[in-house]
């Protein structure tokens, strides 16, 4: 069973790797914004499988943190290119 869990974790990491090749090379920054999403779902999947396989403590907490931080990173990526939507806001005041 442990081998199966580790093997599936490896397969998921492999899909993350292949996806990364596609996304990071993707034309334009729009594609690259999805990278945090990909790592988020793929990374959490393999983390949970590795946790079940090795029985190490605390990996689920890392998965929780990773879920929050992947969403945070995606929001930051999206926000970096977006001008303010408010009327009358200073267009140069972009974060």
């Amino acid at each position: 069973m442990t081998e199966f869990l580790l093997a599936t974790a490896g397969v998921i990491l492999f899909t993350v790797a292949v996806g990364l090749v596609r996304i990071l090379g993707g034309p334009g920054d729009a594609d690259r914004m999805m990278a945090a999403q990909l790592i988020g779902t793929g990374g959490i999947g393999s983390l949970l499988l590795i946790a079940a396989a090795t029985g190490e403590h605390g990996i689920e907490d890392v998965a929780l943190g990773l879920a929050l931080l992947a969403a945070f990173a995606s929001a930051a990526f999206v926000n970096s290119g977006a001008p303010a939507e408010e009327p009358g806001a200073d267009a140069a005041d972009v974060r």
């Binding site: 397969v11 899909t15 996806g19 999947g45």
Partner: protein, 97 residues
């Protein structure tokens, strides 16, 4: 009994991995950014859900199982919203560029 649990886990996790692979195939083959976004967020999340389902019977305690479900719910919520966010940004960039 434990054999049944193991078989259930194997089936669920394998289905989950299948959806991860499907999502990646979609990422590679779909023609434009929005459909790639769709493939990534929907298929990968379903894969994660099935993996969590497969790991639930193996959890050490009801609290651990609850934590697994909480992780899945958080990822669902966060990635659905993030998909919308990224989609908007992609459309906005397409209009400006």
């Amino acid at each position: 009994m434990s054999l049944l649990v193991d078989i259930f886990s194997v089936i669920a996790i394998s289905a989950g991995v299948f959806f991860y692979l499907a999502g990646t195939v979609g990422l590679l083959r779909f023609p434009d950014t929005l459909s790639r976004l769709h493939a990534l967020t929907k298929a990968d999340n379903l894969g994660l859900g099935l993996v969590v389902l497969g790991l639930l019977p193996r959890a050490g305690s009801p609290l651990a199982a609850l934590k697994l479900l909480a992780i899945w719910a958080l990822v669902q919520l966060a990635s659905a919203t993030t998909a919308q966010l990224i989609g908007r940004a992609v459309r906005r960039k397409g209009r400006v560029a």
